[in-house]
């Protein structure tokens, strides 16, 4: 493989080359971006299985009219946890896993700008995910016991399991599962209307917000400051651009929900009135002047950019995959970059389209409708550019490409139903109906998740040094594609027919039973597809493969490193001269050798050819490698310590509850105090620890 990024010279013996450690301790203290990427990926994939299980339970409950597989309360809990999990614990961290894996490799760096901060992001994310999921993990046994009891009773008339569900319901936290929806509308979340399940949700989200923002700071600095020599902004791989734009969205959008959750915590613990218009004082209802609408505004000022936080990385992934399997450079690279930026910019000006039915005045409604329609333009530009990339290319369709093209087709459907929501009268009809569910699943599943599956097939050899099986992969794709459309396309019909969101059951007379049954079958097919993917992973893990550095003949710098890359990524930091550097190195020079006149300008060619042709080049490169003496920062456990400290602060507050035995004695005074101490220990140890 011809490339300057990994010059074709035998590696000189460098003193104590950095090697990866093994064992649990090395994972707990790792600050290597590739290992953190694996941690993010594995964690969020496990959470994907949990969130998928919740989705299946929802679909089973809705499989037939008047079903009672789960109670209405459990149903509320399931859709709340399904939404929260899939958004904050699956789609976001899975994209972050790819940020971590790819950004340093694609810009030719050895790690991110702040490796320890990166580890801190991961641990905070993990503990935030734990915070959110503690209650549902205690509640799932009871749900399954209930299902088993009903099944046994119906099939055999047996009551062998009688009472098991009631026993399991007594587990701690089993009745404290967040049940207010992922949007957490006030005043449902206020003390007056809810128990301490809201605390798990609010504090969990707060921790996840910190993790996301810290990660976003890190990636922006990395992309701006750590690019290899010659890698100008407009030579960057488009995935790095999508990471940069997403990170900017994160640091601008998350403060809004952080403050909103901060207000909510004050409302619940400090007696403030931010979101409650009324209070009960001495048994009577008194006006307190707060406004539940404030929550909706703050939430959606965050919530709509959040949609783009989830979809823009997917656009970046697809923009990387489609050119490789079309054997053509990305069509309209610069316009793709501008479109990313335009989507992000407009994304801050559309939030009220989530609130068209709340009684806003006519002028804001008209303005937000206009901006919401406007955002379809840069999005459409991207669709056309992907099509333009494929146009006239020599197309091949391995699984990664199937998923990428799957995104293009399915996202168009989701995008079109999105533009429909910008039309206010139609939105008023569709609001809170299954049409909305269909829309955002086409965007987030048919969009983001398709791209993420494609990315897994595409970059699996770079992460693990093994190619996933293509036959199982294609089965996985087609099962996903069919199951997905069976599940979510009929929701358009149901929504237009008036089936509301978040309802636990429906009557036979409503006429909704047929499409609901179809949807449940579709959901089971998606479940089967996930099992095929798991099988593929397990089979690939057992195989012995010898994958070359660049199995797809791709163009970006990560493919210049061995598969998997060494801990330091690049022995010699590459010099970049072109956008698709590896294709330039491989193909353009052949053309130039055949007599293209503009060849002489590239100093890079001379350098690249030196190691082969002249012993001088080898000597110089070796000497510089020796002088450089690759030197990676040390592992550190302080990020983990700081994250645990941060985690203990809300643990104390959640436990500080009269329903929990001894809660008020050990909660706030003891556990939160320990948390502060641990956090300070982490920060000070971190500050005074030598970085390398």
């Amino acid at each position: 493989m011809a490339s300057i990024a990994q010059p074709r010279i035998e590696a000189p013996v460098i003193t104590a080359p950095p090697v990866e450690g093994t064992g649990l301790w090395s994972w707990l203290t790792t600050i290597d971006h590739k290992r953190i990427a694996k941690l993010y990926g594995v964690t969020s994939f496990i959470l994907f299985l949990v969130g998928g299980l919740e989705a299946l339970l929802i679909r089973i409950q809705l499989a037939r009219p008047q079903n009672d597989v789960v109670t209405a309360q459990r149903y509320n809990e399931l859709f709340t946890m399904h939404g929260t999990t899939m958004i904050f614990l699956v789609l976001m961290p899975l994209t972050v896993a790819f940020f971590n894996l790819l950004v340093p490799l694609q810009i030719g760096a050895r790690d991110v700008a702040f490796p320890r901060l990166n580890a801190f992001s991961y641990w905070t994310f993990l503990l935030g995910a734990l915070m959110l999921n503690i209650p549902i993990l205690f509640a799932l046994p009871s749900i399954f016991a209930g299902m088993a009891e009903t099944a046994l009773l119906n099939l055999f008339g047996s009551t062998a399991l009688g009472g098991l569900q009631a026993t399991l319901d007594k587990l701690p936290f089993a009745n404290a599962v967040p049940d207010q929806g992922w949007y957490g509308y006030a005043p449902l979340t206020e003390r007056l209307f809810s128990g301490h399940q809201i605390d798990f949700w609010a504090f969990g989200l707060q921790l996840l917000g910190i993790a996301s923002m810290v990660g976003a700071f890190n990636f922006i600095v990395t992309i701006i400051n750590m690019r290899a020599p010659g890698m100008t902004m407009m030579r960057m791989p488009i995935f790095c651009w999508s990471t940069l734009v997403t990170a900017v969205l994160i640091i601008m959008a998350f403060p809004s929900i952080t403050i909103a959750l901060f207000f909510l915590t004050f409302d619940r613990y400090g007696g403030t009135h931010f979101f409650n218009a009324f209070n009960i004082a001495d048994g009577t209802l008194v006006s307190s002047g707060g406004d539940p609408m404030l929550w909706q505004h703050l939430f959606w000022i965050f919530g709509h950019p959040e949609v783009y936080i989830m979809i823009l990385p997917a656009f970046g992934i697809v923009s990387e995959i489609i050119p490789i399997f079309s054997r053509k450079p990305l069509f309209g690279y610069a316009v793709m970059v501008y479109a990313l930026a335009a989507i992000a910019f407009l994304g801050f000006g559309v939030w009220a389209h989530h609130m068209f039915t709340t009684g806003l005045a006519a002028t804001p409604v008209a303005a937000f409708a206009a901006t919401s329609m406007l955002i379809a333009i840069p999005t459409g530009v991207k669709i056309f550019n992907w099509t333009g990339t494929m146009w006239g290319g020599s197309l091949t369709f391995p699984t990664a490409m199937l998923f990428a093209v799957g995104l293009v087709s399915q996202f168009v459907i989701g995008g079109l139903s999105g533009v429909m929501h910008a039309v206010v009268p139609i939105d008023t009809h569709q609001n809170d109906s299954y049409f909305v569910i269909a829309h955002f699943h086409y965007v987030l599943f048919g969009g983001t998740l398709f791209a993420l599956f494609g990315a897994m097939y595409f970059w699996w050899p770079k992460i693990y040094g093994k190619l996933l099986d293509e036959r199982l992969g294609k089965l996985h794709f087609w099962l996903t594609f069919i199951g997905f459309n069976l599940t979510f396309f009929p929701m358009h019909f149901l929504g237009l027919a008036g089936m509301p969101r978040r309802y636990h059951s429906y009557s036979f007379e409503s006429g909704w039973w047929f499409w609901n049954a179809v949807e449940t079958i579709g959901a089971l097919i998606i479940g089967a597809a996930v099992l095929v993917f798991l099988l593929n992973i397990l089979r690939t893990a057992q195989e012995k493969q010898d994958v070359p550095a660049n199995p797809w003949d791709a163009a970006t710098l990560e493919w210049a490193t061995p598969s998997p890359p060494p801990v330091y990524n690049f022995r010699i930091i590459p010099q970049v001269t072109h956008r698709d550097q590896l294709w330039h190195d491989k193909y353009d020079r052949i053309l130039e050798a055949q007599g293209r006149p503009d060849a002489a300008a590239d100093a890079i060619i001379e350098i690249d050819q030196l190691p082969q042709s002249s012993p001088v080049g080898v000597a110089v490169a070796e000497e510089q490698a020796e002088l450089g003496n690759i030197h990676m920062p040390n592992p550190s456990f302080y990020p983990l310590v700081a994250a645990i400290g941060l985690f203990l602060l809300p643990v104390g507050m959640v436990l500080n509850n009269p329903h929990i035995p001894l809660g008020s004695f050990i909660g706030l005074p003891v556990i939160t105090a320990i948390g502060i101490l641990v956090l300070l220990t982490g920060i000070f140890g971190w500050s005074f620890e030598p970085a390398d």
Partner: protein, 248 residues
């Protein structure tokens, strides 16, 4: 020619005050700005959004306690001359912060320590003044839960006060490190970054002081007779609906 092959060591992490910059092996940042400084600018971008959200909320609820006739009212509570003095103290601390940075950049370590101590002291006086102000207001009947004015006022100014407190701790930490000889001229960036944070917190206070204290509030009695009935009746009808929906 071959010299264009760039050999670089690991991009070292820019965290912590021990970190020197420009020593062998650290590549120049692509954008020419120190990574830690860039990190601080990005954090301040987020912080702008934090304060923006808080200030917007305050502006939304600014006159509501007056309209709803839920005392205490801002005009009865605020002591503008007192708060002006503490605002002046905080603004002067920006001057001493600049002098501290100028000192370390010239290698004047004695000056650095004096001005760091002065900045921390002025910040400490501001925080002390805020604690005293909060205590006084609480005695006059304004608490977190007395009305939406109390809620939004305490949370906004308290959030700012927490920022100043963290800044004071940071400055004291820098002072201790300097006294132990750990802050040579080459690490002026550590002081510069703390300075960025400090100036930002000062600038935010100018905005908060203007919108919370200086922009006049409507007269409670006169405005209430006009504005209160419609808003209040609307809320009361909403409340009756909610009460009917409650399970108890």
């Amino acid at each position: 020619m071959a010299t264009a092959i760039t050999v670089e060591t690991a991009h070292g992490e820019g965290q912590g005050i021990h970190e020197g910059h420009g020593h062998a092996g650290h590549p120049p940042p692509s954008a020419g700005v120190d990574s830690r400084k860039l990190l601080m600018w990005l954090f301040l971008t987020s912080d702008t959004m934090f304060f923006g959200t808080l200030i917007a909320t305050y502006m939304m609820y600014r006159d509501r306690s007056i309209q709803l006739l839920t005392p205490p009212y801002p005009n009865d509570i605020f002591d503008i001359p007192y708060t002006s003095v503490s605002a002046f103290v905080l603004l002067m601390s920006s001057l001493t912060m600049v002098l501290a940075l100028a000192s370390i950049q010239r290698g004047n370590y004695r000056g650095l320590r004096i001005w760091l101590a002065a900045t921390a002291l002025l910040g400490g006086i501001f925080v002390g003044g805020q604690v005293f102000e909060f205590t006084t207001f609480a005695h006059e009947g304004l608490t977190l839960s007395s009305n939406v004015f109390g809620s939004s006022f305490y949370v906004l100014t308290g959030f700012h006060g927490a920022h100043v407190t963290i800044g004071v701790l940071w400055l004291v930490a820098l002072l201790v490190v300097s006294l132990r000889g750990g802050l040579p001229k080459e690490k002026a960036m550590s002081v510069e970054i703390a300075g960025l944070y400090w100036h930002f917190v000062d600038i935010v206070w100018i905005i908060i002081f203007t919108f919370v204290y200086l922009v006049p509030y409507p007269n409670p009695v006169k405005e209430a007779t006009e504005a209160a009935p419609a808003a209040f009746l609307h809320l009361v009808s909403l409340g009756q609906q909610m009460l009917a929906a409650l399970p108890f």
